[in-house]
């Protein structure tokens, strides 16, 4: 019977335009975002960028040092006259240099800017060293590398950029998915209540069966949507180029899925209970606040800790079931906490799901047939034994 209800939820929801559009948008968004992430974080392994530098007569002496082979830029030098603006404005060169001033068309390209400054600095440096009587050999000795190794006690090897990206993607994905699917579930509950179809349903099946079927059906649909998103992420990353994805990133996918499943169970129950207290879709917006706020809080805590440290607040939030669905994937990707903490957090969340389902189920059962104005959540909770 539960499966009959679940199947109806899946079929009727999957048929709606909002669902199809949302899935497509999320998929496209994830592909685009992962392309953007790999572009931003994977620049080092690329071919040198082609640039053209216009040198005025006063800057001609730097032509050699600027065209010296390097990883970053493939430089073409154009000798220009004292004005040279037409070359710059015409787009023939990226920047003008006269030995003292860099002239840009607008906002400087920061990489190129740094490159030119360093090259010029280096040329001047060698020149001055020569003046002081140091030959190339002595200079080499002076600036020989002092190798410093890095060791991390947690055994991680990835860069922070990748970690931040993985942590943010996990948090944002969980946050959006929980909110969206919670809202879908709530809309379904309100729809059944406002259309009074719930009375016919309850004449055949119990409120518990109805709620379980709805949560299960939408949950399966949500999970498949999440898997589509993960596939989008993989496609997006492979589309661009081979960048070194640290193990930690793919390792966070199973954790993300587990957290989402448990978090969905927890929040679906809450959203259903909230939905059962209103009789009209118009009231649903305000009624869902008690469910949205803790999610938002968790998201805020995670977002505020990007690039920061594993503070006590983050630690606590990763254990409290109201915030852990959003904070745990973030903390795991960002701070690489000990495994036992992740397992403990998941266990607390898993343990709280049945409690939440029971409480929410009681509110749901009591409130379903009360039509009219919105029932305050606390009152609905106090009334739960009545039906």
């Amino acid at each position: 019977m539960i499966w009959t209800i679940a199947k109806r939820e899946i079929v009727s929801r999957a048929r709606t335009k909002p669902f199809q559009i949302l899935t497509f948008l999320l998929f496209a968004g994830v592909v685009a975002a992962s392309v953007a992430i790999s572009l931003l974080t994977g620049g080092d392994s690329d071919e040198p960028t082609e640039v053209a530098i216009g040198l005025k007569p006063a800057g001609a002496e730097f032509a050699d040092v600027l065209t010296a082979p390097n990883d970053e830029f493939d430089v073409t030098i154009a000798m220009v006259d004292d004005d040279g603006r037409s070359e710059l404005l015409g787009g023939n060169v990226d920047v003008l240099f006269d030995g003292e001033t860099l002239i840009w068309e607008g906002f400087p390209q920061s990489d190129l800017d740094v490159f030119i400054r360093n090259s010029v600095q280096q040329a001047k440096f060698i020149e001055r060293a020569g003046d002081l009587g140091l030959g190339p050999g002595e200079l080499g000795t002076l600036f020989a590398d002092v190798p410093i190794e890095e060791e991390r006690l947690d055994g991680s090897e990835d860069q922070q950029g990748i970690r931040i990206a993985a942590a943010m993607v996990s948090t944002v994905a969980t946050f959006i998915m929980l909110q969206v699917w919670g809202a879908f579930l709530m809309m379904g509950v309100v729809e059944e209540k406002s259309s009074r179809v719930v009375e016919v349903l309850l004449s055949h099946i119990s409120a518990r069966t109805l709620l379980t079927g709805k949560v299960l059906g939408l949950g399966l649909l949500a999970l498949s949507q999440l898997l589509i998103l993960v596939a989008g992420l993989a496609i997006g990353l492979s589309l661009v180029r081979d960048i070194a994805i640290p193990d930690g990133v793919w390792g966070s996918v199973p954790l993300l899925l587990i957290t989402f499943i448990l978090g969905y169970g927890f929040y679906a129950a809450l959203f259903a209970a909230v939905g059962s207290t209103v009789s009209r879709q118009e009231d649903a917006q305000t009624a869902q606040l008690p469910a949205i706020l803790p999610l938002l809080l968790g998201y805020g805590i995670a977002a505020a800790s990007v690039g920061g440290s594993d503070t006590l607040v983050v630690k606590i939030a990763s254990f409290v079931p109201f915030t852990s669905p959003v904070v745990l994937p973030f903390r795991a990707a960002m701070f690489n906490p000990p495994l036992w903490q992740i397992i403990l957090s998941l266990a607390i969340l898993a343990g709280s799901v049945p409690i939440m389902l029971k409480l929410a189920g009681a509110i749901y059962r009591t409130s379903l047939l009360k039509v009219g104005t919105r029932i305050p959540l606390l009152e609905a909770f106090r009334n739960r034994a009545e039906t």
């Binding site: 179809v197 009375e199 016919v200 055949h204 039509v371 009219g372």
Partner: protein
């Protein structure tokens, strides 16, 4: 007399209000029982308790001598007062879905849905969304939903409310047919005149209590008054009845309220003596009239304070 649905001493309070205060009901197989009373009399609450949608504070509800459980509930077809259907689900699909919820296999439910969709004249709309249907057609779908699993007991809450005369006829026909095939039918109405002709027995409730029960003809016969309507062939001038009250007189016709005497021949003879009689009827008052005082008084309360459909607290 243990077969069918039996309700004894059913009670349910809502806040300070005793919505149902000791109702007894018996719906034997094959009988059509009218559950009558004004809005707020406790009909919907009673029906919801029978369906197990809400629990009773006291009293017992049995089906063929056994308490009602989930299995039994699948033998009941319920049509709630506030119609309830999924607006964005197709007609046939919806009827079939409720069939499976009532325990039918998917194939069986599909065939049953085929039958009822055709029977109720919804063949051309079978793949339309319910929200695209007219109100009357949605009612037909609602009826199909309550019948799809071939229930042994029909519980219909205000089945005639909002129906046009043709749809009401179809409804009456199908309900009678189901009763003839052996199903027990409990149907509620606040319009006594609509259902008195079709019910084998009626139970009239007021403020959660039974005020009368029995065959409509017996309840009417028990009334202390009779109506006599006379029309003469020619104007008779001045005329007064022997007893009772002259309600209307226009020279050629009269409407009289008489006391319910065992022998009416003297009263009739008095009318015949006045002139040639074209038509003459002597009848007990209708059910609606018998209980007019109660119903009218309650009807006002019903609108002001307690309405089965609109007031939230009343239902729980």
């Amino acid at each position: 007399m243990t077969g069918g649905l039996k309700v004894v001493g059913l009670k349910r309070s809502v806040g300070d209000l005793r919505a149902v205060d000791g109702v007894d009901l018996h719906v034997p197989p094959g009988e059509l029982i009218g559950f009558l009373g004004s809005n707020g009399a406790g009909k919907t609450t009673t029906m919801r308790m029978i369906l197990g949608i809400i629990s009773a504070d006291a009293g017992t509800i049995t089906w063929n001598g056994k308490p009602i459980d989930a299995d039994v509930r699948n033998d009941i077809g319920y049509m709630p007062q506030e119609r309830g259907l999924y607006a964005r689900m197709k007609v046939h699909e919806q009827v079939q879905y409720f069939g499976t919820l009532a325990g039918l296999e998917k194939g069986e439910a599909g065939e049953a849905a085929d039958y009822w969709v055709e029977r109720l004249g919804l063949e051309e709309r079978r793949d339309d969304l319910v929200q695209e249907l007219s109100g009357g057609n949605q009612q037909r779908v609602q009826l199909a939903v309550s019948l799809v699993h071939n229930p042994e007991l029909l519980v219909l809450d205000e089945p005639f409310a909002g129906l046009d005369p043709i749809a009401a006829d179809t409804m009456r026909e199908i309900v009678r047919e189901r009763a003839a095939e052996g199903a027990g039918v409990l149907l509620s109405s606040h319009q006594l005149n609509v259902v008195e002709g079709m019910c084998d027995r009626v139970i009239i409730v007021s403020h959660g209590r039974e005020v009368a029960a029995g065959r409509p003809i017996d309840l009417r016969a028990a009334a202390p008054t009779r109506h006599m309507n006379v029309r003469w062939a020619e104007p008779v001038g001045h005329w007064q009845p022997l007893a009772g009250k002259l309600l209307e007189f226009d020279g050629t016709s009269a409407s009289v309220e008489l006391p319910a005497l065992s022998d009416m021949s003297e009263q009739i003879a008095h009318a015949v003596a006045a002139g040639e009689v074209a038509t003459l009827t002597v009848e007990p008052p209708s059910l609606a009239e018998v209980f007019a005082d109660t119903v009218t008084a309650e009807h006002d309360i019903g609108h002001a304070e307690v309405d089965d459909s609109e007031q939230g607290g009343e239902e729980e």
